[in-house]
Structures are given as structure tokens and as C-alpha cells.
Amino acid sequence: MDIRAQVSMVFHLDKCIGCHTCSIACKNIWTDRQGTEYMWWNNVETKPGTGYPTQWEDQEKYKGGWERDSRGRLKLKLQGRAGALTNIFYNPSLPTLDDYYEPWTYDYKNLFDAPEGDDQPTARAVSLVTGDFMDTLEAGPNWDDDMGGSEVYAANDPNVLKSLSESEQQSLKTLEQTVFFYLPRICNHCLNPGCVAACPTGAIYKRGEDGIVLISQNRCRAWRMCVSGCPYKKTYFNWSTGKSEKCILCYPRLESGQPPACFHSCVGRIRYIGMVLYDADGIEQAARSPDDGLVDAQRALIKDPYDPEVIAGAKRNGIGDAVITAAQNSPVYKFVKRWGLALPLHPEFRTMPMLFYVPPLLPVIAAIRDGQYETTAGMETAPADETGPNLNTVDKARIPMQYMASLFTAGNVEKIKQVYHKLVAVRMYMRSEQVGDQREEDVQEALRRAEFTPEQCVSVFELTSLPTFEERFVVPPMERERAMDGELPPLDPYSRKAAGGFGFRDAPARRF
């Protein structure tokens, strides 16, 4: 057993309102420099939709992540060593700027300086790459925002194309069936990162003390294999500095005692961050699991922070008490492991992403009753001769379960249904407690299907709907790895605040 610590995340999609505040917070702090205009380390996508960059999930095009060869071994989908050598000066699987979008601003000055004329002056779009005027804007970082039934964007969602039959695809486009939800994405800080494996220079590393994946700006030599190697397309090439960049999980903020900016600013409070302890010895075996078993294999890597054996293993690896305590209080551990509610995004890429999602239980089922369209109808008790509508939410879901399975469980529909049964049980139990309009036998049936106790329902509800700042963000005090290793007493977190910023800095001595 090789116990290590990882800063891990949960996004609760039921609470995401798609406001992009997280994206803007990140942009303002990290990517407002020249060369980074097109980068969105944090972005929010509408699903079904093609996302950013366009169709990033289609690895037949972008060649990101890992695949198993005929003998069950893992290899990068991009290329092996020979391929890396022959393609070193020309990576054929790079997205073009057009697949992201050409960033622009507006000529606001003209609004003030235009001479008097017959027409109202306008602020024309100006490219942030070339500086030329752009007559038509054809793409943006969230160009398909809210376009749930779009013939272009939703219909070309790789998950829709892959997992749904022709008739299901058609029904998603009909007005009554149109549905969408939001999917915020940041770097997953994977346990088995494709970007690290693809880098010919060895410039990318996973920080030993907290598992944050970083690109050394000193060592990066602009080969851009990481851009292709990451299946989530979360490393970006800065055309101005000639180095690749990616989400750094705001480690200067973490080290000064604050949650990352996108977490801190989240309006819907959908984001949770916390430490988990995992067994690094099992990563390869887990990443080689068959598609069906990937979710369980990854969950099995995360160890119980109360288990004395795990605690002893952690201490052997120099993990300090503060980190172990943080792991015991981690909201991520509860969502992922204790309740089994949060799932990794696209586990079939086999990078073992450490950002987990609670899938959205949307929409609340409505019904037309007496000619009225009532959204509360689904909440009321059904006639005695049928099963209550809430119980059927999973089977009657507007978004087909195959679609959600394609996103979160590598196509394993049973696995995603288990999660939905739990979400339905929590909703029905809390409704019966607080409003009292649920039939007792329906609630019992829901609890039985979810394998949840009423107490568990209450804990899930409390961490979902009523969590405090300290419950959502459980970050131990960090003074780089030394304080975490117990060599130093925890420092005043704000003593490091001024030193935070993007750029050249030395990598820590301990890195995996």
C-alpha cells in the first residue's frame, strides 16, 4: 500500500445555474495575459452540446487519453515512443485555434471618439490574436450555451452520436423533449494523467503533497503533446510565451488558506473541495479495468481515512496529521465513497480524473392536469393504483440514461441508475418529511432501491443544500510539502499570499 494525498473535487450539477461566474473568476486571475486570451481553464458547457474545444470528447479526432492494447496494457491513444519521435516536430492531432475560437474584444473607443454623423457609432469586434476587425463572429467559448435542442450543437454532441439510437436522437430535438444541463469543467488533476505521459520533456508533474498537476514553465519546450494527450483538452498552448499552461487549481490560493477562485466565486455553491487518501499502487490495475468496472475500480483506490492501516500507510509516506484530519472531514470522500453519488467524467479515458460530478436530477417532472401545465405535479402523490411519479423519474427521465452513462460511467447504465435512485430517494424522503405529500410506501420503496437509510438521506440533504463555507472547502494548512510533511508547524496562511502568481518558479523537490 502506497498511500498518497490528493486535493479532490466534487461538482454538484443539480445546483449549477450556468452563470459562468467561475469562468470569469478564473479568467480574471490567470488568463488575462497575452497569448492566453482563448484559454478557459474553467469553462461551463451546455450538455447536450459540442463543448469547448468543439467535440473535445471525440477521441477519434483528438487522440487524447489512454486505451488498452490487445494484451490489456495501457498505452497513450496519441502515440507510443516511436510515434513521439517521428511526430516530434509536427503533432498531427492538435486542435486548431478555430476549434477553440478566435478571441476578440470590441473597439469601444469608437463609441466615444466617432465624429458626428447620421448613424449611431458601433463598437466593431477586434481579434485579440491578429488585431484586425472581425466582420463575423463564428465561435466563442460557450457558443452553444443553452442550445439544448440545437440541430448543429446538441445533435453533434459525441455522446449523443455514440450512445443514442436514431429515434432517441430525433426525440431530443422535439420541443417538448428538449433538455439541457450545465457541465462546468476544470483540469481533473488525474491520478494517471495523459498530459504527463505525453510530454517529451518531462515538464509536467504531479505534485507529491497534494496531487496537483502542473506544467513547469522553465522546462516546457513547446512540443504541445500534452494538448493532445489530455482527453479533456485542459492543457492549452500560450502562443505568446511558447509554453503550455493549464489549471493550477489556484495552488497559491490553496497555500494561503483559500479555496480556488472558481470554487470561491460559485454562485450556486455547487463546488466542494477536500483531501482524499488513495493507494497509488493500485492505479495501473484500476486504469486497466474493463469499461464496466472503471467507476468501481477508481472508487476502490480511494481509501477510508479512518482505517488505522490507511493512516499508518499515510504516515509512512510522510503525510502529516493535518492532511489526514482534512481527509476525514472531506466532503469529497462523502460524496464519492460513502454515498457513492459522485462520478468521474468520462472514466473510459482511463486517466483516473479526480474531479467528480453528482449528475443532475433534471428536470422536475411536470404534468398537464385539467389543461394546466404544473411543475409541481410530479411532486404530488400519484393515484393509489399506480406508482408515484417520483419513483418513475429515473425510467421516464427526459435525458436518456444511456446519455448520462456515456458521460459518467463509460456506458454502464446500471451504475448511473444506482446514483439516480439515491438522488430520487433523498428528494422523496425530504419531501415527505417537510411537505408531507408523499405516500409512505413510495418513500420506503425509494429508500429500498437506493439502499439508503433516512439518516443518510438527511446527511446528503444537509451537505447538498445547507453546507457552510467550511464544510464545502476543507483544505488543510499548506506550507508547500514541508508543512504537510510535518516538518514545519503550520504557518500563518496569509504570509504566502503576496507571493502567489503565474510564471516561472521552482518545482518542489518531491514530485511523482
Partner: protein
């Protein structure tokens, strides 16, 4: 103890010495390492504009007997870089620069060329005399035809005369010693003659015997009528079509480059045929294999 690079340099020097020795053994002149007949051609091209052998001083001194006056090392150093030698304060070089106001230009000669020239000068122009005598015999044979064609000169022969590949009958220096034309190159002391004919017409051929810088050179060694006709034909053709002659090697190089680039492009697009060209654009426009 020698380090690796200087050992390698030492070995390289040995090889040079051995090959030089073999060259000496083979050489027929015996005294000088250079090839006097190659030196004769070089002299015509590079030196004869300013120097003679046995026909008196012009821009520069008469070089008859120069190899007896100066030792070989001095000559070599002088020919390599005259300005540097004057600057170094060598008494012989200083004397020359005070006597002749025009400093001899650096001709960019290789060591072998210098050897050739010295070998030629050591014979006091004998090889040159022979070769120009031979040239005279040749041009005496051919030019009966040229004369009958009423000064309709041959542009090809003119080109040979211009570059110095064919000698002038009276031993004047080749035009390329001082002038250049597009595609052939030449000296930079006088103006480029590519399009001169279009400005001056046939009158340009009177310049060698009339105009200040050239007159002292060519008054002693005048051009013959057939040579003038050949040169005029050459300049006329050049002025009419400046790139024609250069079309040969340059055109071929251009053609080969285009074919090479096209072949490279074909190979690249085959090897990387599965590369990403664009994802968003074909998806939105509904072309390619993406459906709408």
C-alpha cells in the same frame, strides 16, 4: 597532451601537407606549386584591368619580374589582402600605396588561385602569351565568317569575351574584371552593363577607347572590330532580355525547387493524412462526414 579537437586539427594538417607534397611532385612547373595556364586565365579575368606584364605601368605597376623582386611569401600575403598588409606597416606595401594612389582591392582569391597566379607571373606571362597567341589563331580562323556577316556579331562569342573565357586578340582584360551583367556576375569596379545597351545603343562600344577610366587600359590593347560586334550583340541581347542567359541554371533551380516542394507536400499530406485540419468549421457548415 593534446585535447581531442586539436589532435584532430593536427591530423588534418598532416593530411594537407601530404596532399600538398603529392601536388608538388605532380606539378610540371617544378619551381612553383601553381598551374601557370590556370593562372593565365585568372590574370585575364582579375588582374589585367590594372596590370600588364612587360607593357608598362597602368593603374598598377608592370608585373614583369615581380617574382624576382619580391619573395613568394610576400606576394602571397599581398594577394591575399592588400589593405591588411598596408595597415600592418610593411615597408614594401607602404611604398606601393604611396606610389599608386588607387589601393589594390581585395580580390578574394583562394590559396590555390594565388599559387596559380604566382606561377604564371614567374614565367613573365609566357603561358599567357602562348594562350593568347592560340586564342588569336582561333579567332583568326573563325572571324572570316564574322567579317563577311557585316558586323553581325555572335552574342554567344560576346558572352565568352565578356566573362574572359575567350581572350581578346590584343590581350586586353575581360569586361567581367570590372563590370557585371545579370545572371553572369562579374566585378564591381565599373557599372553594371545589363541594360546599358538600351540607353547608349551601339555607341557604348566606343567607351573602352575613349572614356577616362578605360581609355588607358584599352588604348594599348584595342578591341578588334569582330570583338566589338560580338560584344555589342551580347549586350543587345542582354538588354532585350536580362534573364535569358541566367534562365539556364536559375530557371532549372527554380523548377527543381517547385517540383521538390510539391513532392514534399504530397509526402507530408500522405503521411499525416489523418491529421486534424478542422473540427468546428465542417461541423457547423454541415460538410464532410459530419451530419446536420
Amino acid at each position: 597532451m593534446l585535447n581531442a579537437p586539436s589532435r584532430r586539427r593536427a591530423r588534418f594538417k598532416q593530411v594537407l601537407l601530404v596532399s600538398a607534397a603529392i601536388g608538388l611532385g605532380v606539378s610540371t612547373t617544378g619551381t612553383w606549386a601553381g598551374d601557370a595556364s590556370a593562372g593565365a586565365t585568372l590574370f585575364q579575368q582579375k588582374c589585367a584591368a590594372c596590370h600588364t606584364i612587360g607593357q608598362g605601368d597602368r593603374v598598377g605597376p608592370d608585373l614583369k619580374g615581380v617574382t624576382k623582386e619580391r619573395d613568394e611569401a610576400w606576394l602571397k600575403e599581398w594577394l591575399k589582402d592588400p589593405a591588411a598588409m598596408i595597415a600592418s606597416g610593411d615597408p614594401g606595401a607602404k611604398e606601393l600605396s604611396s606610389k599608386y594612389p588607387m589601393t589594390m582591392p581585395n580580390l578574394g582569391l583562394s590559396d590555390q588561385q594565388i599559387d596559380d597566379l604566382i606561377a604564371y607571373m614567374a614565367q613573365d606571362g609566357a603561358a599567357g602569351a602562348q594562350s593568347s597567341a592560340g586564342g588569336a589563331a582561333e579567332s583568326a580562323a573563325a572571324p572570316a565568317a564574322a567579317a563577311s556577316a557585316e558586323s553581325a556579331g555572335s552574342a554567344d562569342q560576346g558572352e565568352l569575351l565578356f566573362t574572359g573565357e575567350a581572350s581578346f586578340r590584343n590581350g586586353g582584360p575581360s569586361c567581367a574584371a570590372c563590370h557585371s551583367v545579370a545572371g553572369l556576375g562579374g566585378g564591381s569596379m565599373g557599372p553594371d552593363l545589363t541594360s546599358t545597351h538600351s540607353r547608349l545603343g551601339d555607341a557604348m562600344i566606343t567607351w573602352p577607347s575613349a572614356m577616362a577610366p578605360m581609355q588607358p587600359i584599352f588604348s594599348a590593347d584595342p578591341l578588334t572590330d569582330s570583338e566589338k560586334a560580338d560584344l555589342l550583340a551580347f549586350f543587345k541581347a542582354k538588354a532585350a532580355n536580362p534573364n535569358q542567359s541566367s534562365g539556364g541554371p536559375v530557371g532549372m533551380l527554380l523548377g527543381l525547387s517547385i517540383i521538390g516542394v510539391a513532392a514534399l507536400g504530397a509526402i507530408v499530406s500522405f503521411v499525416w493524412r489523418r491529421r486534424i485540419i478542422a473540427v468546428r468549421e465542417p461541423m457547423v457548415s454541415g460538410t464532410g462526414r459530419w451530419r446536420r
